[in-house]
Amino acid sequence: MDNISILNFIIIGITTTFSIGLFIISLNSYRKSRKKKILFVSILLMLFFIKSLLFSLFLFTEQIQNDIIVFVLEIFDLLILVFLYTAVLIKQ
């Protein structure tokens, strides 16, 4: 077990939490606003959360190789979510 593998677990953990958090927020926003745009964002985030969850499960069960490629992919996912999070929070 190397450091990259441990980092993968940390990043996928953060990604999973952020995706479910954003999904809950967007669902609440949709309930209040009933805007279709937000509904789509909610669905996107739900899918993102499911994907992260499955990814975690596959990593634990060693069905995918836990290496540098996973690490890079997860970094991209995390960055996308961070930007989405920032976009949701910024007013205007």
Partner: protein, 400 residues
């Protein structure tokens, strides 16, 4: 405010549910035989951890039969460790902090301990020449244990001269045998023990025996810590063996030699192109077999090249597996026999060096046996931490 509280409760519940269902899945899916995950080299550092076995690392532990000279002095020549009071019997004892070797003229028992984190492992390699030269690797609860778990045996069965009829460069069932030398039919000289020192001041022990006609020699190199000598690096988790074949009396003009060895173990054997030592950067150009059980991994590896008349050639190795089911009373035991055949190019002087050792499961970044639990905790902490950060930022934004 109510919606916010509900959101937090739902969020925490979801995380809780995820982990309740995820953990049993994780443990159910784990292959119990999968023990080794490649990691970073840190063996030499770890050997120095933990409490010493004895106050004086070179000191005697008693029971030594040598009286005239100090057998525990690694700088003393092994050949001098003959005890005339014991008649033809003599014993040689060598002790370092984590390695004990006890040897006589017909056997050598090497015990080694390695320590990582708070756990330790000990193993024993028992070499004897009473009948056929045999190496036995066992695992022990500690260095001084009286009971051991037999793990695998390597029997040096015979040397054969064969005519490579199908010209595939290796001995197989289609080839004709011109002559053979079963090791059970030859007499080996008494095992000798010699200590040497590297330019860095590290000692290594050479354990040697050969057939009375000097045709086949087995040399074992033993170290008590990671030591480099003669273009090799070995650790106290393994022994290096040299097989030397000098002046084999060939009966045919075009024949070659093959050395047949046999591995017996109740555990699973997996071929490895990239050996443990290669992963640890202590060796190159090796292949081998890993013998894996639930708790341990041992190995038998060999150099991909052989020196024949001072030239290097690739060695062809054939592994033939055969499984046995033994029924005794109401007990049933499954045994695997693997014949490992080293086919060497023809030459007057052949030198090949295999290794026997154990793979440390505990020397990676985290203990292997705790990896899943450890990773689950890391994952959970990452989720918890990011959840706090996530909520903290929202809370801060709303109350600003």
């Amino acid at each position: 405010m109510k919606i916010k509280k509900r959101a937090i409760i739902v969020f925490l519940l979801v995380i809780f549910v995820i982990f309740t269902y995820l953990n049993p899945l994780v443990f159910a899916e784990t292959d119990p035989d999968y023990q080794y995950i490649a990691g970073q080299e840190n063996s030499s550092g770890n050997q120095q951890q933990g409490s010493p076995n004895t106050d004086n690392p070179m000191g005697s532990t008693g029971g030594n039969q040598n009286k005239g000279n100090n057998p525990n002095d690694p700088n003393q020549q092994g050949n001098d460790n003959t005890n005339p009071t014991n008649g033809k019997q003599y014993r040689y004892r060598y002790q370092k902090r984590y390695t004990i070797m006890d040897g006589a003229e017909n056997y050598t028992r090497i015990r080694s301990r390695y320590q990582d984190n708070d756990a330790e492992e000990s193993f024993e390699i028992y070499f004897n020449i009473d009948n056929t030269p045999t190496f036995q690797l066992s695992f022990l609860p500690d260095l001084n244990a009286t009971t051991s778990q037999h793990y695998f045996s390597i029997i040096i069965e015979q040397l054969i001269e064969y005519n490579d009829i199908n010209d595939n460069g290796k001995y197989d069932s289609n080839d004709g045998i011109a002559s053979s030398m079963p090791m059970s039919n030859v007499t080996f000289t008494n095992i000798t023990y010699t200590n040497n020192t590297t330019p860095e001041g590290k000692t290594y022990t050479i354990i040697e025996t050969h057939t009375t006609d000097n045709l086949f020699t087995i040399v074992i190199y033993l170290v008590s810590e990671k030591t480099s000598f003669l273009n090799n690096t070995i650790t106290n988790k393994e022994i290096k063996i040299d097989f030397k074949i000098i002046n084999y009396p060939f009966e045919s003009q075009t024949s070659s030699l093959a050395l047949i060895t046999q591995i017996k173990t109740p555990f699973s054997i997996n071929p490895e192109q990239n050996t443990y030592d290669e992963q640890q950067n202590t060796a190159t150009q090796e292949s081998g077999l890993n013998i894996s059980s639930k708790d341990h991994v041992g190995f038998f590896s060999w150099a991909n090249n052989v020196d024949v008349d001072n030239k290097t050639f690739p060695v062809n190795v054939t592994v033939i597996s055969e499984s046995e089911q033994i029924f005794s009373g109401d007990k049933q035991e499954a045994y695997t026999q693997n014949q490992v055949i080293f086919s060497y190019p023809r030459g007057e002087s052949i030198l090949h060096d295999p290794k026997i050792g154990v793979i440390s499961l505990l020397e990676n970044v985290i203990p292997s046996i705790l990896q899943l639990e450890y990773l689950s905790i890391i994952y959970l902490l990452a989720c918890l931490f990011s959840g706090i950060v996530f909520y903290g930022i929202i809370y801060y934004k709303k109350n600003r």
